[in-house]
C-alpha cells in the first residue's frame, strides 16, 4: 500500500502536501484493490483489525452523523463505542473531518459509506500520504519501503503489529502483481532487449564500430524481463540505458512502451524526459550522434546476416526478432509498404492475437525472410564494386545490377540506403559514356519510386541528368530524357529541370523527321530521342511555368510536327503534353493556328484508348474557342467523339470524350451535327452510374443541347429529366453549376417544367442558393427564372417554399456581380406575383436594390433595372426607391452602350416616374436630353411618360 501509493499511483501535483489522485484507470484499479482489502479485513483478519494505529487516519468525509447507526454514539460528535485501552474512541467524526484509528473501524466505515465508499478511500489516501507511518509507526514503514525485513527487531513490537505488517506487505505485492499482469499486455520488454543486444554487437563487430559501450543501469532483471523498478514499470518504463557514443557525452536513455527518450539522470535531474520520444534506439542515436548515423548503414549488411543467423537459431523467437530488425534498421527497407504494421511494432503495442497471426504468416513463408536479406547483401556488394571499380568493372557491375528486380521497392530503397544512388549519380559526372549509359539504365527504372526521385533531386542528380541532354551520344540523350520523365513528377523536380535550362534542351530533342516512311538507323535513333524528349516534357508540363518555358523554347511547332507521326508511342507523350498545356490560352491559340486540330481529330480514331483520351481531352480544353469548335466539325471530329461514348467502361476516356462533346456543343451547328449521330440519346443514357467527372461533362453538354427547343422534348422523351433533378442533390460544385443550367434550360419547355415541378425540382434548385459557391448560387438563380416563368401556378409554388423569398432577398447582400445579376433576374420574375412582391418588400428588397444602383456592370444594370421596375408595383415602393436615391444612378444607365440596359432602364424609370418627386429628380439629371439623344424606338414607353409628366 505504501509503496504503491507513494510511487505507483498517479498524483496530480506531487509538490503540494495534499495532491489529488488523478482519475486514471490505473488509480481506479489500485483504489478498488485497496477498498476490497479494507472491506474484507474484519472478516478475514479479526485479530489484526483490532490493532490500534499509531496515529489516526484523518480526512474530510462526505459522511454525516446520520449515516452512523448502532455502535456509535451520535450525540454531538459521532464517536464509536469501540474504544482503545485508554478509553479513546477509535472513530471520531467532527464534520467534516473524520479520525479513524483501527482497521475494524475503517472497515465499518466503508460499509456504512455505501456507494460513496470509493470516494472515501480516495479522500483518505489523498489526505494521508503516509498511511503506513500512521498505522505502524515510522520504523515499520521504513522497513517496508526498503522491502526487507529484519526479524530480530520484531521482538520489540507486538506480534499483531508484525502480522499486520505482513498483511499489508502482501496486499501491496498482490496489487502490484495484478497491475503488472494487466500492464504486461501492453509492455513488451523483449523488443527493447533485442534491440539492445543488437546495439551491443555494434560496439564490437562490423566494419567500423559505431558505439563505445551500451549498458543497462541495473543488472537485475525482473521476471517479466523489465529492469526498471516495479513502480516505474507501472509508468510503462522498461529499462534504463547508458550509451557511450564516439562523438558526444554519454546518453542516459529511458526505454518505455511509448518509445525511447533521454532522461535527466546525466544532468542530475532525475528520470524526467529531456528529449523527444523516439520510436526506437537506433532512431534516437541517429538523430543524436552523427557518427552513429554515418556508420550505421555500413552495418546493415552485418545486421542482416545476424538476423538470418538468429532466425535459424531460434525459429520460435523469429517474430520478435523480426520486429526488432523491423523497428531498427531495415524497417524502412523491408516493410515500408506496410506502415500500419511498422507502427504497431514501434509502439510495442501489438496485441497477442496479432502476433500469433504474424507467427503463422512467418511460418508460412520462411523462405522470404531469408531471401530478402540476400538481395540486400547482393546490392551492397555490387555498390562496393561500383565504388572501387575501374570502367570495365563498373560496367560489368552495372549490368549485373540491371538483372535485379529494379521495379521492386525493396531493391530500390536498398540501392539508396547502401549508398548506391550516390554512386550512380557520381557516374553521371564522369566522361565514361558506357558508365553513364549503365547508370541511367538503372536510374530510369528505380526512379519509378517517388522516394528515389526525391533523393535524386536532393543529391543534385537531376542537374547531372539535365546536363547529359547536351551529350552527342543519342542513346545517352534518350535515356536521360526518359529518366527526367520519371523524376519530374513533383514540383521541385520540375522546377530544377527548368532552372538548369532543361526545358530548352528537351525541346531541342524534339527536332527530328518523324513521318518519313523509310528511316535510316540514324534517323530512327533521332525519333526515339524525340519520343523520350516528349515524355520528359509531358512530365514537366504539369507546372505552369514550364508550359511557358516550352512555348518560349519553340516547342509548340516541334510538337505539332511530331503530331504527324504514325507511331502511338510517339503520339501519346506528344498529345499528352499538348493537352496538359492546353490549359494555357497561348497554347489553345497555337493548337488552332498551327493546324493541330486536324491531327488531334485524326487520332480520335486511333485504336489506342490512351491516345484517344488525350486527343479528346485536348479538344475538350481547346473547344472553348469558337473557331476551334468549327474546325472540329470541319475535320469530321464529331462522329468519332460520339463513337467514343460507346467505350463507357473506360471512365477517363469517357470523361474526356464527354468533355469534348460538351465544349463542341456550345456551337449550335455542332449540336445539329451531333444529333445526326444520336448523341443526345447516348448522353441521356450516361446520366446515371457514372463518376462525377463524367457527369459534369454529360450534364454540361445536355445544358447546351437544351438551348434548342426540340431537344428539350427529346431529353424528356429519353427520360433525362428525372436523373437531372436527382443530381440537384449532389455536392460537387462544378456538377451543380452544370445541372442547374441544364435544368433551367429544360424548364423553358412547359411540359418539362410541369415534370420538374412534380419531382420537387424547383425546391431543390432553390435550396442550392444556400450553396457556399457563388457559381452555384448564380447558376441556381438563373435556373429559377425559367422555372418561375413557366410554372403553372408560379406564385403559389414560390410561396410554398418556406423562407425562400427571404433567402433570395438576403443574397442581394452578396459581393459577386454574377450572383447579384442572377438574383435580380429572379426577383424580376417573382415580383410579377403581387402577393410575393409584398413579401419581398417586407423583407426589405427596396433598399437592398437601391444600394446596388451604383454599379457599372451592364449585365447587373440590366437585371437590376428590371427588378426595380417590377418592384415599383407594390405599395409605396416607388417613393421608397426615390428616398433611397435609386433614381439618379438609373438615369445614368441610359448612357450605357448596351441597348438592352437602355430598354430595361427605361421601363424602370417609367414605373418610377409615377411618383412626382422621382420625376423631378430625373429631370434634374437631364433625362430628357439623354433620351432625345438616344431617340430609339425601344424607349417608346419613356416617351409616353415623358409626355405625360414633364
Amino acid at each position: 500500500m505504501g509503496v504503491l501509493l507513494t510511487k505507483a499511483a498517479q498524483w496530480t501535483t506531487a509538490s503540494s502536501g495534499t495532491g489529488k489522485l488523478e482519475f486514471t484507470p490505473m488509480n481506479e484499479f489500485l483504489l478498488k484493490g485497496i477498498l476490497c482489502f479494507v472491506e474484507q479485513f474484519n472478516f478475514q483478519h479479526p485479530q489484526e483489525a483490532e490493532h490500534v494505529f499509531e496515529e489516526p487516519l484523518q480526512w474530510i468525509t462526505t459522511l454525516v452523523a446520520s449515516d452512523f447507526k448502532t455502535d456509535y454514539d451520535i450525540s454531538g460528535d459521532v464517536q464509536s463505542q469501540e474504544k482503545d485501552s485508554e478509553g479513546h474512541s477509535l472513530l471520531q467524526l467532527s464534520p467534516p473531518t473524520v479520525c479513524v484509528r483501527s482497521f475494524s473501524q475503517l472497515c465499518k466505515l466503508v460499509h456504512l459509506a455505501g456507494d460513496k465508499k470509493l470516494e472515501e478511500v480516495r479522500a483518505c489516501l489523498e489526505e494521508n500520504r503516509d498511511p503506513l507511518v500512521k498505522i505502524l509507526g515510522p520504523f515499520f514503514a521504513n522497513i517496508m519501503e526498503r522491502g526487507t525485513v529484519h526479524t530480530q527487531d520484531q521482538a520489540k513490537d507486538s506480534e499483531v503489529k508484525v502480522r499486520l505488517f505482513h498483511l499489508l506487505q502482501n496486499m501491496d505485492k498482490q496489487l502490484l502483481a495484478n497491475l503488472l499482469e494487466e500492464i504486461s499486455e501492453w509492455l513488451d520488454p523483449t523488443s527493447v532487449k533485442n534491440e539492445v543486444e543488437l546495439l551491443k554487437q555494434f560496439c564490437t563487430e562490423g566494419e567500423k564500430k559505431v558505439l563505445k559501450t551500451v549498458r543497462y543501469t541495473s543488472d537485475y532483471e525482473f521476471s517479466n524481463g523489465c529492469r526498471a523498478p516495479l513502480w516505474r514499470q507501472l509508468h510503462g518504463e522498461i529499462c534504463y540505458l547508458i550509451i557511450e557514443p564516439y562523438d558526444s557525452e554519454d546518453f542516459y536513455i529511458t526505454c518505455s512502451n511509448a518509445g525511447v527518450f533521454l532522461n535527466g539522470v546525466g544532468e542530475q535531474s532525475g528520470y524526467d524526459r529531456t528529449s523527444d520520444v523516439y520510436k526506437d534506439l537506433v532512431t534516437l542515436l541517429k538523430s543524436r550522434s552523427p557518427h552513429f548515423a554515418e556508420n550505421i548503414n555500413n552495418q546493415v549488411q552485418w545486421n542482416i546476416d545476424r538476423f538470418t543467423v538468429i532466425n535459424k537459431k531460434h525459429p520460435y523467437r523469429c517474430p520478435l526478432l523480426l520486429q526488432v530488425v523491423k523497428s531498427t534498421l531495415i524497417c524502412s527497407l523491408l516493410f515500408s509498404k506496410d506502415p500500419a504494421r511498422a507502427m504497431q511494432v514501434e509502439t510495442f503495442s501489438e496485441s497477442s492475437s496479432e502476433s500469433e497471426e504474424e507467427d503463422e504468416q512467418l511460418e508460412r513463408r520462411p523462405e522470404n525472410n531469408i531471401d530478402l536479406p540476400a538481395e540486400y547483401w547482393q546490392i551492397q556488394k555490387l555498390v562496393k564494386y561500383l565504388k572501387g571499380g575501374d570502367q570495365t568493372a563498373t560496367v560489368l557491375t552495372l549490368c549485373a545490377m540491371m538483372d535485379l528486380n529494379l521495379m521492386q521497392e525493396t531493391c530500390q530503397l536498398a540501392i539508396r540506403d547502401v549508398g548506391g544512388l550516390e554512386v550512380l549519380i557520381n557516374l553521371l559526372d564522369t566522361d565514361e559514356v558506357k558508365c553513364k549509359i549503365g547508370s541511367l539504365k538503372i536510374l530510369r527504372k528505380i526512379s519509378n519510386n517517388v522516394q528515389i526521385c526525391r533523393t535524386t533531386v536532393e543529391m543534385g542528380g537531376l542537374r547531372c541528368i539535365v546536363k547529359i541532354l547536351d551529350s552527342p551520344v543519342k542513346e545517352l540523350k534518350a535515356l536521360a530524357a526518359e529518366t527526367i520523365a520519371n523524376i519530374a513528377r513533383f514540383r521541385r523536380a520540375r522546377r530544377t529541370v527548368r532552372q538548369y535550362d532543361g526545358i530548352k534542351k528537351l525541346v531541342k530533342l524534339l527536332d527530328c523527321v518523324p513521318n518519313l516512311t523509310r528511316l535510316t538507323a540514324d534517323q530512327e535513333k533521332d525519333v526515339d530521342v524525340a519520343r523520350c524528349g516528349a515524355l520528359a516534357l509531358w512530365s514537366c508540363s504539369k507546372s505552369t511555368k514550364n508550359k511557358e518555358a516550352i512555348r518560349k523554347a519553340g516547342g509548340i511547332p516541334l510538337l505539332g510536327r511530331l503530331l504527324k507521326s504514325p507511331h502511338e508511342n510517339m503520339l501519346i507523350p506528344v498529345v499528352g503534353t499538348l493537352q496538359e498545356c492546353a490549359s494555357e490560352v497561348s497554347y489553345r491559340i497555337a493548337i488552332q493556328t498551327e493546324g493541330m486540330i486536324k491531327d488531334l481529330v485524326k487520332n480520335l480514331s486511333s485504336d489506342n484508348d490512351e491516345l484517344q483520351m488525350h486527343c479528346a481531352s485536348a479538344i475538350f480544353k481547346c473547344a472553348e474557342d469558337q473557331e476551334t469548335r468549327d474546325l472540329v466539325r470541319k475535320y469530321r471530329g464529331l462522329q468519332p467523339l460520339v463513337l467514343l461514348l460507346g467505350k463507357a467502361e473506360n471512365k477517363q476516356l469517357l470523361a474526356a470524350a464527354t468533355g469534348a462533346i460538351w465544349k463542341c456543343s456550345i456551337s449550335m451547328e455542332n449540336v445539329a451535327k451531333l444529333q445526326e449521330y444520336k448523341a443526345l440519346e447516348i448522353l441521356v443514357g450516361l446520366l446515371s452510374d457514372q463518376p462525377e467527372e463524367v457527369l459534369v461533362n454529360v450534364v454540361g453538354a445536355l445544358g447546351e443541347f437544351a438551348q434548342i427547343p426540340a431537344n428539350r422534348a427529346t431529353i424528356r422523351k429519353y427520360g433525362g429529366i428525372k436523373p437531372l433533378v436527382n443530381l440537384l442533390t449532389g455536392t460537387n460544385q462544378a456538377l451543380l453549376v452544370n445541372v442547374t443550367k441544364a435544368v433551367g434550360a429544360c424548364a423553358t419547355d412547359k411540359d418539362n417544367m410541369a415534370f420538374i415541378d412534380s419531382l420537387d425540382g424547383v425546391r431543390l434548385v432553390w435550396s442550392l442558393l444556400k450553396n457556399p459557391s457563388t457559381d452555384v448560387q448564380s447558376s441556381a438563380a438563373w435556373a429559377l427564372c425559367p422555372c418561375i416563368e413557366n410554372a403553372k401556378d408560379a406564385g403559389e409554388m414560390v410561396r410554398s417554399l418556406v423562407g425562400g423569398l427571404e433567402l433570395i432577398v438576403n443574397l442581394l447582400k452578396s459581393t459577386n456581380n454574377e450572383v447579384l445579376a442572377s438574383i435580380c433576374a429572379a426577383i424580376t420574375k417573382i415580383a410579377k406575383d403581387k402577393e410575393n412582391l409584398a413579401v419581398l418588400t417586407d423583407h426589405g428588397v427596396v433598399p437592398l436594390l437601391a444600394r446596388l444602383t451604383n454599379t457599372s456592370d451592364d449585365r447587373l444594370r440590366y437585371n437590376l433595372a428590371g427588378a426595380i421596375g417590377h418592384c415599383c408595383m407594390w405599395g409605396s415602393n416607388r417613393v421608397s426607391f426615390g428616398d433611397t436615391g435609386a433614381v439618379a444612378p438609373l438615369v445614368h444607365y441610359l448612357k450605357s452602350k448596351d441597348s438592352a440596359v437602355h430598354k430595361s432602364t427605361a421601363m424602370a424609370l417609367y414605373q418610377l416616374s409615377k411618383d412626382p418627386n422621382n420625376c423631378i429628380t430625373m429631370h434634374e439629371k437631364g433625362v430628357v436630353k439623354i433620351l432625345k439623344c438616344n431617340g430609339q424606338e425601344s424607349h417608346i414607353h419613356s416617351h409616353q411618360w415623358l409626355n405625360k409628366y414633364c
Binding site: D390, A393, V395, T397, L398
Partner: protein, 228 residues
C-alpha cells in the same frame, strides 16, 4: 612519292578494297599510305613485314589512347591473323575495318577474340580473372584481396554463361551482348572510344595526318561522327 609507287598503291588499293568491308578504294589508298608512314622508313637492312607488337601497341596507344597492355596484346593477336607476330598492311586494313566501322556482329567476334587469350575459343574463368585483376581497388583489410575479382568473375559468368558450362563460348558472348550492348567490351576497352577520339591529342594527330594526305575522307577515323 613517285608516279610509279602511286600507281602501285592504286592497284593495291583496288584489290584490297574488294576484299575488305566498309572502306572504299580512296579510303584504302589513304590507309595504305598511312601504313607506310606508320611503318617508318624501311630499315637499312632487311625489309620489314609489318608492324611488330611494340610498334602496334604504341600506335594504338598514341592514336586511340588504349593503355591496357594485356588488352593491346589481344588486339594485336586479333589483327595478326596469320600469327606471324607482324601486322601486315592487309591485316592492318582488315583490322581497322572492324575496329572503326564494324557492325555489331563483327565487333562481337572481334572482342571475343581479343578476350580469348589462349585462342581456344572459350573465355575461361582464369582468363576473365586475368583480364579483370586490376579492375577493382583492393582493400587491404580484406583477407583475400582477390575475393572481389573472383566474385566479379562469378557475377559475370552468371550473367553471360547461358549454357552453364563455366566458360563463355562465342554463342554465350553473342547472346549476352545482344541482350545488353554494354557487355560488348565486358573485359576491357578494345575498341576506340568516342571520348578518346574527340580528345585533343588525337585531333592533333589527325591534323598532321590530313596535312600529309590530301583528299582523305574525314569521317575516316570518326566512326561515330555520323551520330553528331
Amino acid at each position: 612519292m613517285s608516279a610509279m609507287s602511286r600507281k602501285l598503291v592504286q592497284t593495291l588499293a583496288e584489290t584490297i578494297s574488294k576484299q575488305v568491308e566498309h572502306f572504299n578504294k580512296t579510303e584504302v589508298e589513304c590507309l595504305i599510305r598511312e601504313f607506310k608512314v606508320l611503318l617508318g622508313e624501311p630499315g637499312m637492312g632487311r625489309a620489314v613485314n609489318g608492324l611488330d607488337r611494340v610498334k602496334f601497341r604504341s600506335i594504338l596507344h598514341n592514336i586511340f589512347g588504349m593503355t591496357d597492355d594485356m588488352i593491346l596484346d589481344g588486339v594485336f593477336r586479333t589483327f595478326d591473323k596469320d600469327n606471324d607476330s607482324f601486322v601486315s598492311m592487309k591485316e592492318w586494313i582488315e583490322g581497322l575495318s572492324v575496329f572503326l566501322r564494324g557492325t555489331l556482329d563483327e565487333k562481337i567476334k572481334y572482342c571475343f577474340h581479343v578476350y580469348d587469350l589462349n585462342n581456344d575459343n572459350y573465355i575461361s574463368r582464369d582468363e576473365m580473372f586475368h583480364m579483370l585483376k586490376n579492375s577493382l581497388i583492393r582493400q587491404p583489410t580484406e583477407e583475400d584481396p582477390d575475393e572481389g575479382i573472383k566474385d566479379l568473375v562469378e557475377i559475370t559468368l552468371k550473367k553471360m554463361d547461358h549454357d552453364h558450362d563455366g566458360r563463355l563460348s562465342l554463342a554465350d558472348f553473342e547472346k549476352a551482348v545482344r541482350e545488353e550492348n554494354l557487355l560488348l567490351e565486358a573485359f576491357g576497352t578494345c575498341l576506340p572510344d568516342m571520348a578518346v577520339i574527340i580528345n585533343e591529342r588525337f585531333m592533333r594527330n589527325m591534323v598532321t595526318y590530313i596535312s600529309r594526305s590530301e583528299g582523305l575522307n574525314l569521317t575516316f577515323y570518326f566512326p561515330f561522327f555520323s551520330e553528331y
